[in-house]
């Protein structure tokens, strides 16, 4: 095992897949000569050249659309949309082209393209660079949506995403220097498989992306008070691993869903609805959802923290439903 940062894990995944398969190309704003806005593509231009590591103009719609065209013609483009907020500019190419190509052609082609994008807040990036918009993409048939939290997950899942034959929204978070251990040797992780990051018997907490870290520290604090939460890090939102959620909820009878995206119409609502539809009899308490307030993400630290979900919100939600269970008993 070796310790590595989140951004270095992304870089390693790209480097390994570029070396493995010459149909893989990387394209986007500043991905080439400069090595990427956040060093995710550092050194790739020198190693693989300008034909494979392609600096583009600031043209998100064209970046995404060109990636789709290249993908249906046999390449495996990894297209970077610098910030998730900017996917709004690429939406037609992603939703109307990438997601439907295979369907509309009745399987004559496939569109194996990965759209890498940086989501999430917490770094005073302000209203234009901080959003978590994953639920937009979870609503579109034909797309897969991946949002890994740890260096281990991001590397294994990015490699699998590049090898997958479907268009994928691959969301990376802003804790780029988060460290974690990964194996020295090559590995991949399957899409559509959640990871139980912590076992516990009292409450199931389903989370993903960068909020995982706050859930993890909350878990330590709760454990000191005798409450053991089970943390399910979804890693992949579409396809959704309902099996792992189900078996945990059957065990704990209590569910908290915590995501950084705005709570209203967030993907947590979909999970909550599915659990109520299929596991109503197993629930001992109402499901609690944690998400950002229904406002844009402000810049200043105090105001940003006021909008984004914090550790205290997670702890209080968990305690709430533990108490409601005690009351019921």
């Amino acid at each position: 095992m070796k310790e590595i940062t989140y951004v270095k894990a992304i870089n390693e995944a790209l480097r390994e897949e570029l070396a493995r398969d010459d149909s893989v190309i990387v394209m986007g704003e500043d991905v080439g000569i400069s090595g990427g806005s956040f060093n995710a593509t550092k050194g790739l231009f020198e190693a693989f050249g300008s034909k494979r590591i392609i600096d583009t103009p600031i043209s998100e719609s064209a970046i995404a659309g060109i990636a789709v065209g290249a993908a249906i013609s046999g390449l495996r483009p990894v297209a970077e949309i610098m910030f998730m907020d900017f996917t709004a500019l690429a939406m037609d190419s992603i939703v109307n082209s990438a997601a439907k190509m295979r369907y509309m052609s009745a399987g004559q082609c496939k569109a194996p393209v990965v759209f890498r994008t940086l989501g999430g807040g917490g770094v005073s990036a302000g209203p234009g660079h901080s959003q978590s918009l994953e639920s937009w993409f979870c609503h579109v048939p034909g797309l897969k949506v991946v949002y890994p939290s740890t260096p281990y997950d991001v590397k294994g899942l990015l490699k699998s995403s590049i090898r997958d034959d479907n268009p994928i929204i691959f969301i990376e978070h802003k804790f780029l220097r988060a460290k974690g251990e990964i194996p020295e040797e090559e590995y991949t992780l399957p899409l559509g498989q959640a990871d139980v990051k912590r076992e516990g018997s009292d409450v199931t907490v389903v989370t993903w992306g960068q909020l995982f870290f706050k859930v993890a520290t909350s878990a330590e604090k709760l454990a000191r008070e005798g409450i053991n939460i089970e943390i399910i890090d979804l890693r992949t939102l579409i396809p959704l691993d309902m099996k792992t959620i189900e078996s945990s909820v059957k065990k704990t009878g209590k569910l908290v869903i915590a995501h950084e995206a705005v709570k209203i119409s967030g993907f947590g609502a979909e999970i909550a609805a599915s659990v109520v539809e299929h596991l109503f009899d197993y629930l001992d308490a109402p499901i609690r959802r944690i998400g950002a307030a229904f406002t844009p993400i402000p810049w200043g630290t105090v105001v940003e923290n006021a909008v984004l979900p914090q550790e205290a919100d997670i702890i209080s939600a968990v305690k709430d439903i533990v108490r409601s269970r005690q009351a019921k008993n």
Partner: protein, 320 residues
């Protein structure tokens, strides 16, 4: 201008005639409800699609447009194959999932059509990027109407295609109408070919109702693209005979404009020329017409006797 052989002229005429007769038949089928959905006629504009595809190699690509039957005929798609898709049959290339408007047929290099205008432009550029990357010698034609030029995708894509010297030719079929609104109400520059200069690209304008003119300009542009000399923007000026869709009452349009448009007929113009040049006679022309009509009729019979797309097919190919 290179000399076009008599044989080639006759072939172009046959494709043009086939497009016209197919269009007339599709409008009939639309009116009787046998073709579902909306239908956007290409009557009066056929010379563009036929002219630009006639010089393509079978392995070259072109995207489709919502008025795209000329492209399909020009790309030599067998009529039975096309008609099966148009009538929603399982043995169409998209198995009845996409129909005629979004007709996608990779076997013949046809890249489909996006619902949003302009969505197909970066996709076509991406296909050209793959051709360049693989050094495959293939060329892509990206064709769209004048309304589409106002989309951001046009700007982003032409800039990149020119910058990277991609093997692609952009063709604008300028009929002067963006759906129900005239070009003069929406465009600050009605001579679209002039926009090429802004992308350091070669721009050309042709009379899109003169098939030989379209054919010649396309031939040069395709040769340039194939040689690695980069893209060309070709503007083809045409007239739209019908409304935006079949059944459009065109209340927004001066009836005189419709009348004038219909007097400009690419088919009869080319027919007269070939008769003047003694390449066609009235007799051979009538024979040709009969055989084209027969072929269309056979294609319809074939499609009608083919199985309709089943309910199960609706749920296939969402994911690989």
């Amino acid at each position: 201008m290179g000399e076009v052989s008599n044989e080639k002229k006759k072939e172009l005429f046959t494709l043009l005639l086939k497009t016209r007769r197919l269009e007339e038949k599709l409008i009939e089928l639309m009116t009787t409800g046998e073709v579902a959905g909306w239908f956007h006629s290409n009557l009066g504009q056929e010379a563009v699609g036929v002219g630009v595809t006639a010089y393509l190699e079978p392995e070259d690509y072109i995207n489709n447009t919502h008025r795209g039957r000329a492209i399909i005929i020009g790309k030599r798609v067998p009529l039975k194959r096309f008609m099966a898709e148009a009538l929603g049959r399982k043995n169409g290339p998209c198995e009845g999932i996409s129909g005629e408007m979004h007709y996608f047929d990779l076997k013949y290099g046809i890249l489909g059509q996006s619902g949003t205008l302009g969505g197909q432009i970066p996709v076509a550029v991406g296909v050209a990027l793959a051709c360049q990357y693989r050094k495959s010698d293939q060329v892509v034609i990206c064709i769209f109407g004048d309304g589409t030029v106002d989309e951001g995708n046009f700007h982003e894509s032409l800039n990149i295609a020119s910058l990277w010297k991609l093997p692609i030719v952009f063709v604008v079929e300028n009929n002067g109408w963006a759906q129900f609104t005239p070009q003069k109400a929406t465009a600050s520059q009605v001579d679209i070919w002039r926009k090429a200069e802004g992308y350091n690209m070669l721009g050309k304008v042709v009379d899109g109702t003169d098939i030989l003119e379209v054919y010649e300009v396309a031939r040069e542009a395709i040769a340039r693209a194939r040689k690695g000399d980069g893209p060309t923007l070709i503007e083809c000026k045409v007239r739209r005979w019908e409304g935006h869709y079949i059944g459009d009452p065109q209340k927004y349009r001066d009836p005189k404009d419709i009348e004038e448009a219909r007097r400009v007929d690419p088919l009869s113009k080319f027919q007269k020329r070939l008769m003047d040049e003694k390449i066609l006679t009235l007799e051979s022309m009538n024979e040709l017409d009969e055989s084209v009509k027969r072929e269309i009729e056979e294609a319809i019979q074939f499609a009608k006797s083919s199985p309709v797309a089943s309910r199960e097919q609706a749920f296939q190919n969402v994911y690989v």
